[in-house]
Amino acid sequence: MEPNGQHSDIQTRNLRVLEALLFAAKEPLGADDLRPYLSENADLADLLDQLQQRYQHAGINLVQRGEKFAFRTAEDLSFLLRRDDVEQKPLSRAALETLSIIAYHQPVTRSEIEEVRGVATSKGTLDVLMEAGWVRMRGRRRTPGRPVTYGTTMGFLDHFGLEQITDLPGLGELKGAGLLSSNLPPDFSVPKPSDGDLTSDEDPLEPDDAGDDLLSDLDARNQPNET
C-alpha cells in the first residue's frame, strides 16, 4: 500500500474512533480524554474540525463546549426533543367568576375583584387564568399600595370568539338574553371594558415586576366584612 493510502486509512480510523468516543461519552470530552485512543502524532484539532464539518448539515452536530466536544441535536431540530402534553380541564367556578369580572371591569385590581365577588381571590386563581393565557397583568394603579391591574388578552378574545372586548354584551343585551333579571336596582350598571392601552391612572409594570400586591393580604382578610 502506498504511504498516502496508509495515511488516509489511519485518518479514517482516527475519525471513527473519535465518533464512537464522543457518541458513547456521558459528558463532553477534551483533548486528554480523546488523545490516548488516537494514533501517535494525530492532529486532534484537525480531526475534530473534519468531524465538525462532516456533521455540519446532519441532524446532529459536533459542538464545542469550552475546550471540550460533544454531539448534540442540531439546533433547528431541538423541537424534536420537546413533547407537549396537553390536558384539557374545565375552569373552576372561582376562576370563571374571576375571569368574568376581569373581562368586564378591566383594568381591575385584585381587591376590586374581591369587592365584586364578595370573597377573597386566591393568587392561584389568577395564576390559572394567566397560565391559560386569558389574563395578564397590565400595570399598577396609581393608588396607595400601587396594586397590580389585570386585564384580558388576545388569547381571551380568541378563546371566547370575540372580535374585540367591547363585544361583551352590555346591560341591555344581558337582560335581553334573559341572563340578567329585569328587576334590577336603579343604579345597576355594567361597565364598558377596555383591554387596550394603559389608562390615565395606571403605571406600566417594571420589566421584572413579579406582580406582588403589598396590600393584597390585608385586602383579602378584610374582604368578608367589606360588602
Binding site: A20, F23, A24, A25, K26, E27, A70, R72, T73, L81, R82, R83, D84, D85, V86, E87, Q88, K89, P90, L91, R93, A95, L96, E97, L99, S100, I101, A103, Y104, V116, R117, G118, V128, E131, A132, W134, H159, F160, G161, L162, P169, L174, A177, L179, L180, S181, L184, P185, F188, V190, T227
Partner: protein, 238 residues
C-alpha cells in the same frame, strides 16, 4: 472418587459431567456404563452418609430401571419403552443440555452492549412540557358574571308591617268611643284621631264600618244615614 454433589446443577448436570469423562461424542456414549457410574457415585455418597437430594435419588431409580431394561432382551408385547428407547431419551436430554450450555457460552461472549458496544452516553432526554388547556364556554363566562353581580343587589326587601284593624279591634275602639252617648254623632268624628294618618285611614274606615254593622246586629248601637254620601250617624241604642 470424591465429588461434591453441591457443585452440580442437578442430576442431569452430574450425568453430563460423567459422560464427558468418557471422552467420546455423546452420540457414541455407553449409556449402560454411564448409568453404572452414576449409581456408583450415589452409592459412594450414601456410604459416606452424605445427604443426597431427592432429585438425584429419583434419577438413580430411573437409571437402575434403565439398566435392567437394557440387560433383558426386548419383548415386542411389552408396552413399556424398551431399554434402547430409554437410552436414546437420556442421550437426547444430555445432548440438548450440552447444546444449551454451548449456546449460553456463545451468547455471553458476543459483543455486549455496555461492555463492547455502546449506546449514546449522554442521551438528550425529551422534555415533556405539561400544559393544561382550560376549558370554558362563552355562556359559562357570562353566567358567572351575571350571577355575581346579581348577588350584590341590595337585599333590603324588609316586609312592610301594614297597619290593619281587625274587626274585634275596631269593635273595641267603637265601644270605647261611643260610650253611653245617646246623641247622634257622625262616626267619622269619633275616628278623626285615626283618620288623620294616611296609613290607618283606609283600614280604620273599613274595619270600623264593618264592626258597626256587627254592633247594630247585636243591638248595641244604631246607625243612620240621611242621604247617600252624607255622614254616617251613630248612637248607643237605648
Amino acid at each position: 472418587m470424591y465429588v461434591d454433589v453441591k457443585g452440580y446443577e442437578g442430576p442431569l448436570d452430574l450425568l453430563l459431567d460423567l459422560a464427558r469423562k468418557q471422552k467420546v461424542d455423546l452420540a457414541h456414549i455407553s449409556v449402560l456404563s454411564l448409568a453404572e457410574q452414576y449409581l456408583g457415585f450415589i452409592q459412594t455418597l450414601k456410604e459416606r452418609r452424605i445427604e443426597v437430594a431427592a432429585d438425584y435419588l429419583v434419577m438413580a431409580a430411573w437409571l437402575a430401571y434403565l439398566k435392567s431394561r437394557l440387560m433383558v432382551p426386548h419383548d415386542d408385547e411389552d408396552e413399556e419403552p424398551s431399554g434402547e428407547e430409554m437410552a436414546a431419551l437420556l442421550q437426547f436430554r444430555l445432548k440438548r443440555l450440552e447444546a444449551m450450555r454451548d449456546a449460553a457460552g456463545q451468547l455471553v461472549n458476543r459483543p455486549r452492549l455496555g461492555r463492547d458496544i455502546h449506546a449514546r452516553g449522554d442521551p438528550e432526554s425529551i422534555l415533556t412540557t405539561k400544559t393544561n388547556q382550560w376549558q370554558a364556554t362563552y355562556y359559562d363566562l357570562l353566567r358567572a358574571y351575571v350571577i355575581q353581580r346579581e348577588k350584590s343587589f341590595p337585599q333590603d326587601y324588609s316586609v312592610k308591617v301594614r297597619t290593619v284593624w281587625s274587626l274585634s279591634e275596631a269593635e273595641e275602639i267603637l265601644e270605647r268611643l261611643i260610650g253611653q252617648s245617646a246623641e247622634w254623632v257622625p262616626l267619622q268624628s269619633y275616628l278623626s284621631e285615626y283618620l288623620a294618618s294616611t296609613e290607618e285611614r283606609q283600614t280604620a274606615l273599613a274595619s270600623s264600618f264593618t264592626a258597626s254593622l256587627e254592633m247594630v246586629r247585636q243591638g248595641q248601637i244604631e246607625l243612620r244615614q240621611s242621604a247617600p254620601f252624607s255622614p254616617l250617624m251613630v248612637r248607643r241604642k237605648r
